[in-house]
Amino acid sequence: MVASSNSRRAVSRSTNFRPVRSDRPGQPSQALRKSRSAAMSPIPLKKPGMRSVNSSASRPTPFAPRNSRTTLQAMPDRMPLPGWLRLLKQTEKASLMVAFGLVSAAVATYGWAVYSQQLWGSNFNRLNTLRRDERQLLKSSELMKNDIARHNDPKQYGLVPRNAEHIVVIPPAPLRSALPTRSTVDPKAKPITPIGY
């Protein structure tokens, strides 16, 4: 660091060292005194050939004198960013969002893919079991029917073979005379003659 850097930058940096000033009110600390003298000294702080380790250790913190009339100047606004950079930053933000969305979608899709396959497998097994049950139910019921008809006396179940004697014939009722049809037209109503307008 060179003395020419005793500029706005050095001053602004000195504000960072405020706690130093609170050593003891009224009496400037040793460091402060040193820094004052350094600030006023026309001699550059860094001599050529000095080792940087030592120089940094002994270098006084530049500090504006409390009594001086110099005032802190506000930092100028940052330079407006160029358009391409702004665009790039916006693109970065947008792509970050998209990437996040895509990653979540990929995780979800992968999860669903794995889960749905397991679901398919278990449902397929269930379908096979149901089909097996259906077949066995059908077979058992038919075997039971055959067994009842063959080995047991159907009469003990209250069953008798169907025969011509079991037919109940209900003779059709004689034809009734047709009811007089009622006219749907009210005889009192006057016929409406259509009128064209």
Binding site: Q117, R135, N146, I167
Partner: protein, 586 residues
């Protein structure tokens, strides 16, 4: 700050590390190690990717894929009312490999499995001790039992699935449905005729599976899981079949007959409602059949001479040919000589001049010869051909025999052929063909094709496929068939077929007692085939019932043996079909 200052002297005393000199040897060594490593890696890559590639690929496929082959059963067969009469079930052949019984000893496994496969634990243990692998434990193991063995979670048991056809009604419909043997080959019946509709489409697909064995359904083709619920529906009514089977079995044994059969046919469309043959077999255990004749449906495989049951058809032919009229009379002299051959009435009675109704009522052979003689032999023969003698009926059951009739030339030159044919001898046909011919008399002269299959229907009863029936050919005129039915009614009312009467119903019928042809030529004097064909109700004719008994013992006639069977059958059919009692002609 003071601390910082105190550090300075220490820094100053730090020792200086001498710089390493570059060594060419070390460079080469490192280079060689790296190069050697790369070479080895490359060689390994070559081994894996080129030399062992195919073997590794096969092993990977074995581990990561599985052949998914869901059980696809042969289509079921149901009767007219939807009762299943043939269904498929999955069975397993079980192999045991004792080498892989990790946790259990042979005796433990034997004790666990023995009750499930109906074997003694000691026997099983002997089997397990005898061989380390590939022991066939059992065949045709049912699904439930297989699942119970699987649930025991014993390593080293292999289940090979296959299918088995089950016929819950046992021998009730064996003559119609046939059977499927253990090699899945259809043997007879509609299992053979409709093989193309019944046979399942074997579906299988190779799928990936996870390490845990879960199947990954990627690559399952569309519709792979789908199984249609179509079943082949018959026109047979199994209740009717069962009732008639009882009747036939009882009468066959009571008359000491060799065999018997009953066919019930709906004359309107040729649908066979019932077809009972005796003897028959249990298709679930077809290998236990001792008499191989029981395996065939003799209602369509065996020819016989129909005898007098053919007489009404001859009368119809003569009426259609226009050589006789309904009110014609013929002279029945009781016996005749044609070409030196005597022809007698069965009762040897001479009835003089009688009408058509009486010829039928008394089953007059002489009267029938007189009727046949009114036609030119060529015209008569043409008619016989036209009604299908010597041909197949076209029934949808396999192994049908073709009827037999002598060549036209024989009929033209020898009058005895015309004479014997007039009372139903000298030619042969199957019982199913006789039923088909009589259905023409019942339905007003239309020739329908007998069949047992109604179609392929789905679970909701919607038709998927139905057999195409050609337009029935009009052979006889309705006026003549109606008159012939009245003649046949007289047979049952007051003629040879009185035993076929059913209270409340008007039954038309015709007896038949034919001598059996002997192996040495000519006819046997003591071996007969008795038959009776009935058509009811006469006022609204619809059902044809044919009953045939082969070699009933004693003085057996169609009117005494077969007619009572038809009477019983008609009662059953009328009850199941809910036929209203008959009314007299207006």
């Amino acid at each position: 700050m003071a601390r910082r200052q105190s550090e300075f002297p220490r820094r100053r005393t730090r020792t200086q590390v001498p710089e390493a000199k570059p060594s060419l040897f070390r460079l080469r060594l490192v280079w060689m190690v790296l190069l050697g490593g790369c070479t080895l890696l490359g060689l390994n890559l070559l081994r894996l990717q080129v030399l062992q590639a195919s073997d590794l690929l096969t092993r990977a496929k074995q581990q990561q894929t599985t052949l998914l082959k869901p059980f696809s059963p042969r289509r079921p067969v149901v009767d007219r009312n939807g009762n299943a009469i043939a269904i498929d079930e999955q069975v397993y052949t079980v192999f045991v490999h004792p080498r892989y019984f990790d946790r259990q000893s042979n005796s433990d496994v034997a004790k666990l499995i023995a009750p499930l496969v109906n074997q003694k634990p000691e026997d099983l243990q002997k089997k397990f001790d005898a061989s380390k692998t590939g022991i066939k434990l059992t065949e045709q193991l049912e699904e439930n039992t297989a699942q119970r063995i699987k649930d025991l979670r014993i390593d080293g048991i292999d289940f090979i699935p296959s299918s088995r056809r089950v016929y819950p009604q046992q021998e009730l419909l064996a003559n119609i449905i046939g059977y499927v043997d253990l090699q899945k080959q259809s043997q007879g019946g509609i299992e053979t005729t409709y093989e193309h509709l019944l046979k399942p489409q074997e579906k299988s697909v190779r799928l990936n599976k996870t390490g845990g064995g879960t199947i990954l359904p990627d690559g399952v083709p569309n519709g792979f899981v789908y199984q249609d619920d179509q079943r082949l529906q018959l026109t047979i009514d199994s209740r009717m079949q069962r009732a008639i089977q009882d009747i036939v079995n009882r009468q066959v044994s009571s008359f000491g007959a060799k065999r018997g059969l009953v066919i019930v046919m709906d004359a309107n469309d040729g649908a066979i409602l019932s077809m009972v043959t005796n003897p028959t077999f249990d298709p679930n255990e077809y290998w236990k059949v001792k008499d191989l004749a029981a395996l065939k449906n003799w209602g369509l495989t065996d020819l016989y001479e129909p005898g007098s049951t053919f007489k009404p058809l001859n009368v119809a032919i003569a009426l259609e040919a226009g050589t006789i009229k309904l009110d014609d009379y013929f002279y029945d002299s009781g016996s005749l000589m044609i070409e030196g051959w005597p022809i007698n009435n069965s009762d040897n009675a001479a009835r003089g001049s009688i009408g058509l109704t009486d010829i039928m009522r008394y089953s007059s052979n002489v009267g029938m010869v007189r009727i046949a003689q009114t036609m030119k032999p060529s015209v008569y023969y043409s008619w016989l051909e036209r009604i299908g003698l010597g041909q197949y009926t076209g029934v949808d059951l396999p192994f049908e025999a073709q009827g037999y009739i002598k060549p036209r030339q024989t009929y033209m030159t020898s009058p005895i052929e015309v004479a014997t044919t007039s009372f139903g001898q000298g030619f042969s046909m199957t019982p199913i063909q006789l039923a088909k011919l009589h259905s023409m008399l019942a339905n007003g002269g239309k020739m329908v094709t007998p069949h047992v299959v109604k179609g392929l229907y789905d679970g909701q009863g919607r038709p998927f496929w139905q057999p195409k029936q050609s337009m029935p050919k009009q052979v006889f005129s309705p006026k003549n068939t109606k008159a012939i039915l009245r003649m046949m009614e007289a047979v049952v009312d007051s003629g040879t077929g009185k035993a076929a009467q059913v209270p409340g119903y008007r039954v038309a019928g015709k007896t038949g007692t034919a001598q059996k042809a002997t192996e040495g030529g000519g006819y046997s004097t003591y071996r007969f085939i008795t038959s009776f064909v009935g058509i009811f109700p006469v006022d609204n004719p619809r059902y044809v019932v044919l009953s045939v008994l082969d070699e009933p013992q004693g003085q057996a006639y169609g009117g005494t043996t077969a007619a009572p069977i038809v009477s019983e059958v008609i009662k059953v059919v009328a009850g199941i079909e809910q036929v209203p009692p008959s009314k007299p002609d207006p």
